[in-house]
């Protein structure tokens, strides 16, 4: 029995020895710690750092707006909200560390990221009015105690975009609640920046090491969480950001207004930013800075799709989706009714990306997404 075993070992050691594809060198240069620390250093931390810079600028613009409320100041704050939110959309899927789903932080930054089904819910203006008519001092600490729907990116979008600039100005100047509203707006911007400062500091501190060292492939490992997050975001993009307005969640009745970022009109822009975030995780690159990404891991595992490398196919598919999105010239709520076929096509292409990420990538990496024991069936 033992001899047979040895024989099998020897036979295969020999027969594969001269196969260049299976040699040791290709594999020995690769390790998962390197992938994780490269992702942290090249993609994740720069992503959160740039988000923090945008949020700092946004706080300035919001302060300018609340000090001297003019239409120009409204536009300035709006532009900076878009810049910051776009930076957020590029890092949205890194639901790790302080942004772990089990912690309240994620929902307070963007409740739609924590629960995609709520993503397209509109801010309840009555609840906001209630929140600002208070005897308590309105500061960052106060905003922090409000419901998640009255915090973070969504509430700022509402306060800056829900009406024409002139109306926003009058809300901040002549309205009965003007002072309280200004305080709430300023505090919400300040609180959001504080939260992202905490997250950036956490990554810069111990968390990047924790992240690097959790290099297993079970559900709690960094790799397991990243793969899960990639699948989760791509599915949320498909099901919620496109499927819901297309009426897929409402028995076929279209819901043109159930889009993400309806007030700021950035639905498709954010979709592309999400896509860029996914692309960065796959390539491991951040602009011109090159790093190790999932593509290297997949190539290392020899993940193929017919004659193509799986990594290439994923990147190609991202390009296909980009081109399809670019072919839409109207805002998404309009496109859903006037250009349904194209939106449906984007949905279908996104579904292919979901399959590549959730099915093919997971299968090739063998990430053990298990919730109980398993014996492989």
């Amino acid at each position: 029995m033992k001899r047979l075993f040895l024989l099998a070992v020897l036979l295969f050691a020999q027969s594969c020895g001269d196969d260049p594809d299976n040699g040791q060198d290709k594999f020995s240069t690769f390790d998962r710690k390197q992938l994780l620390s490269s992702l942290a250093g090249t993609v994740i931390r720069p992503g959160f750092d740039s988000l923090l810079r945008e949020l700092t600028l946004m706080e300035d613009r919001v302060t300018t707006l609340t000090t001297t409320p003019t239409e120009a100041a409204v536009t300035g704050a709006q532009e900076q909200w878009i810049a910051a939110a776009r930076a957020w959309k590029r890092v949205e899927f890194f639901k790790l560390g302080l942004l772990d789903e089990s912690l309240p932080m994620l929902a307070k930054v963007d409740f739609g990221a924590a629960d995609p089904a709520k993503r397209t819910e509109q801010i309840d203006s009555a609840a906001l009015v209630q929140a600002i008519t208070t005897t308590q001092a309105i500061d960052a600490a106060y905003v922090d105690t409000r419901p998640a729907t009255l915090q973070g990116f969504p509430v700022l979008e509402y306060m800056l975009f829900h009406a024409p600039a002139a109306t926003i100005v009058s809300e901040l100047t002549t309205d009965a609640n003007a002072e309280a509203r200004k305080s709430y707006l300023r505090s919400a911007a300040q609180l959001l920046k504080q939260k992202l400062a905490l997250i950036a500091a956490d990554w810069a501190g111990g968390y990047q090491n924790t992240f690097r060292d959790a290099d297993g492939r079970d559900i709690g490992s960094s790799l397991g969480m990243l793969v899960n997050d990639l699948a989760f975001l791509s599915e949320a993009m498909k099901n919620e950001k496109l499927g819901r307005p297309l009426g897929f969640r409402t028995a076929g009745v279209k819901q043109p207004n159930a889009v993400e970022a309806r007030l700021s009109g950035q639905s498709l822009v954010f979709l592309l930013d999400n896509l860029q975030g996914i692309e960065r995780a796959i390539t491991g690159d951040f602009g011109a800075t090159k790093g190790v990404g999932f593509d290297e891991l997949l190539d290392h595992l020899d993940a193929k799709y017919a004659d193509l490398k799986l990594s290439q196919l994923i990147l190609q598919q991202i390009q296909v989706i980009r081109q399809k999105v670019a072919s839409i010239s109207t805002p998404l709520p309009e496109a859903v009714t006037t250009n349904t076929a194209t939106v449906q096509q984007i949905y279908d292409e996104l579904k292919k990306l979901v399959v590549l990420l959730k099915v093919d990538m997971t299968n090739n990496i063998g990430v053990m997404i298990t919730y109980t024991d398993n014996d492989g069936d």
Binding site: M1, K2, L4, F5, A8, V9, F12, A13, S15, C16, G17, D19, N22, Q24, F27, S28, F30, D31, R32, K33, D215, G216, R217, D218, E235, G243, G247, F248, R249, T250, A251, G252, V253, L301, A303, K304, Y305, A306, K351, V355, L356, K358, V359, D360, T362, N363, N364, I365, G366, V367, M368, I369, T370, Y371, T372, D373, N374, D375, G376, D377
Partner: protein
């Protein structure tokens, strides 16, 4: 013929059965406590709003949360009663029925080793496992027996050996032997394992371990039955289970099997272990060794019954030969066949729903209705996909949408192959039913996995 009969009818020490009862009972109790502590009662039997039924057992229903918790407490107590031999027959019968009931609630949770537990505990109902070193035998010495017919012990050994032997037969697949899959995927993801890590990244290691595991599984039953080879075989077995416990998240299985296989050792060994145990548990100590001369009627009915029981188990793993599709793809006859750790299968499924009356079309996402585990399991198992489509149909009927057609948009990747469409997207799943007939709505998997013979012929 006479020697076989003599071997089967030979009286052997009853202590071996008592030993098995003791260690297996403790393992079961440990398993039940672990299940409770991990919060799985909540996750698996309280959180879901829908449960996938086994064919023919659609009537099995989940109990209210308090009763599910109570069931696991009863199972723990019953397992301990089995271990110590207190009201043994009652305890093992309760354990078998309650455990098997719990496993039949939801197809999602099917595991080969739970199936194994059901089989062994069923067998244990019929064997005089409490003949020695039990509270029962102490309280009522007339129940004690010093020896039992050898066929009883052999039946138990075969039951344990089947897991390995048919597990080995199941490994005679092209993917496993010719491509070293899925071990290749799993091992290369373990490259940071201490000391052995770099080795696990090498392809030849995946092949060596695939073939080694197959040979081990096919031979270990016979090795353990041969007294001279037994210590070596058991050492290999320990190494085998140690590594599987390290690489795979397979819970109690390696420990259960490592202890269960101790039953192959000599009665002298079992006797010394049990003496050591009762030296510490005075209340189990036997008053006097039961007389050897208690001869009961030979029980031909039981012997024939057990033969049928084991014989059926020999046939079940070959059911898949009756189906045209590959068992790892379409999963006809996949369960109850010892297909252990054979597939790395990942899937995505969403449902396209069409209101036949209005023509409106929309999508249903499983995550809305199922737990993550259920969704994951369903996405690769055709029978669950069909069952879920029919469940959706009922849901819509309750909402007043009487006529719907439901199609699956499903993609699956198997053992590192590119994903491909899994379910025929033109088949309205509300019109099919899953029984024993071949699953025509599963798309064929033309490229592979081909059968082993086909691959070898084409080499």
């Amino acid at each position: 013929m006479t020697t076989i009969r003599a071997t089967l009818m030979k009286e052997v020490p009853a202590v071996s059965l008592a030993f098995f009862r003791f260690v297996f009972g403790l393992m079961l109790a440990g398993g039940m406590i672990r299940f409770l502590l991990k919060g799985w009662v909540e996750d698996l039997y309280i959180a879901p709003t829908y449960y996938f039924k086994f064919y023919g057992f659609e009537f099995v229903q989940v109990l209210p949360p308090w009763a599910m918790y109570a069931s696991f407490i009863v199972l723990t107590v019953a397992a301990l009663m089995v271990a110590f031999g207190y009201r043994y027959k009652l305890a093992i019968t309760v354990f078998f029925f309650l455990f098997t009931y719990v496993e039949m609630i939801d197809k999602t949770t099917y595991l080969n080793h739970y199936y194994f537990v059901s089989l062994v505990t069923f067998l244990m109902i019929w064997l005089p496992m409490d003949a020695r070193y039990s509270v029962d035998a102490k309280r009522c010495p007339a129940r004690g027996r010093n020896t039992v017919p050898n066929w009883m012990l052999l039946a138990l050994m075969l039951q344990i050996g089947f897991v390995y032997f048919f597990g080995g037969i199941a490994k005679l697949k092209a993917d496993w032997l010719l491509d070293a899959q899925p071990l290749r995927i799993w091992l290369s993801a373990n490259s940071s394992f201490p000391v052995l890590g770099p080795l696990l990244d090498q392809v030849w290691v995946a092949y060596a371990l695939s073939w080694g595991a197959m040979i081990f599984d096919l031979t270990i039953l016979f090795v353990l039955l041969a007294p001279k080879l037994r210590p070596y075989g058991y050492a290999v077995l320990l190494v085998f289970h140690f590594f599987t416990s390290q690489f795979f998240l397979i819970g109690m299985f390696p420990y259960i099997m490592s202890t269960a296989t101790l039953v192959f050792f000599s009665a002298r060994f079992h006797e010394s272990v049990m003496r050591w145990v009762v030296a510490r548990l005075a209340w189990m100590r036997e008053v006097a060794l039961p007389r050897a001369a208690i001869v009961r009627a030979r029980r031909p009915v039981l012997a024939y019954g057990l033969t049928v029981f084991l014989g059926v188990q020999v046939l079940l793993p070959f059911r898949h030969l009756l189906y045209p599709n590959d068992v790892t793809w379409s999963e006809e006859a996949f369960r109850f066949s010892w297909n252990i750790m054979l597939i790395e299968k990942t899937g995505h499924v969403e449902f396209v729903v069409k209101n036949v009356a209005t023509g409106a079309t929309w999508r249903e996402y499983p995550s809305e209705h199922l737990t993550r585990l259920q969704e994951k399991m369903m996405s690769t198992q055709p029978d669950m996909i069909v069952e879920f489509a029919q469940h959706l149909k009922e849901k819509f009927a309750q909402q007043g949408i009487k006529q719907v057609a439901i199609y699956a948009d499903a993609h699956v990747a198997l053992n590192g192959r590119p994903s491909r469409r899994f379910i025929d997207p033109t088949v309205d799943l509300t019109t099919v039913s899953d029984g024993f007939a071949p699953r025509s709505w599963v798309l064929p998997f033309d490229e592979a996995p081909k059968s082993l013979t086909e691959r070898v012929v084409n080499l």
